[in-house]
Symmetry: C2
Amino acid sequence: MKVLYIYAHQEPTSFNAALKDTALSALQEKGHEVKGSDLYAMRFKAVLDAEDFPVRKKPEVFKPFLEAIHASKTGAFSSDIKAEMEKVEWADLLIFQFPVYFSSMPAIMKGWIDRVFAPGFAFNPITQSAYETGLLKGKVAMLVATTGASEEWYSKGGAHGDLRELLKCITHCVFEYAGMETLPSHIIYEVSSQSREKGVWELERYRQNLSGL
Amino acid sequence: MKVLYIYAHQEPTSFNAALKDTALSALQEKGHEVKGSDLYAMRFKAVLDAEDFPVRKKPEVFKPFLEAIHASKTGAFSSDIKAEMEKVEWADLLIFQFPVYFSSMPAIMKGWIDRVFAPGFAFNPITQSAYETGLLKGKVAMLVATTGASEEWYSKGGAHGDLRELLKCITHCVFEYAGMETLPSHIIYEVSSQSREKGVWELERYRQNLSGL
């Protein structure tokens, strides 16, 4: 399988980095081909703006939707977006790994989705390409998320509410919207206060999950 | 009342800009004091990284939570974060206006929340300051959101699901988490295909909503 690993953590010695390294080696051991997007290391531009569209359809007024639809026909996205789109096209499986910030993605990961999953590339309301007819149909996506808060806080009836429900903003409204099948999210709660032993155990649990793909 | 208006749209001639201008004049007419944060115009930095903490507690390894807690005691946040925190402290009401990207905020707005609503400033797990004891208690927050998709798509049982449920990632997990009271979100559906008359009517509906505050 061809796997694109989209990863968002700032620190190479973090538990998130260890998770990512565990994943890359587990996937390669199983014979999968892997490409990565290490968003902070790439200094990936998070903000969707006019610079994303070097050849504008309407130079006098910036309409993001219109420019994205236009660029998806002409290929005139900025080079950093095109590079990510090529990796998405190549991949069978997309894994998104990040620490949960306010029950959702960090801005740099949201920016990757805002800019790379452009209308005309991932979905298209004009041609009614969404969900069953989403433009990334045939691909599979998976979230891997770590939290600071406890599983109790993130459960139904807990203070924040069920994290898997909250993550539907991504699993349903991004992945399924673009036509992708979504694997169960791999969640590791309360990582900031976990013991070294628990951390080692979680790396092994993640390795086993990926080995079963 | 003191109102901080946090706004995210790239284009000064957009419907979103007209909404923002309508709001600012309606609020000023009613005698409120208003400060604004026009995120794209400010080229607001969306990405939380080590540059946010010019005086590090642990220079050898970047732990965002630890550095934010430290900076909230010493004041050593980067100047752009401090400027926004001062506006938040000043304000009684915070209004966040943005076009919905993938059922949620654009990355630039998420980045404002990730960076400005730092642990130690908006909430603090160490002192159990969250929800009823959140650090922004006494303030009120409100979302103003425009969508491309229809109200039917964003209703319970619709393709995306109930937008007000999806926005709980913000209204509950950000605003209420920080201790703020949340006003009902003001939502305008399907703006990209609305007629000029509908647009004028929506501006008036928004003006009346704000006049009632």
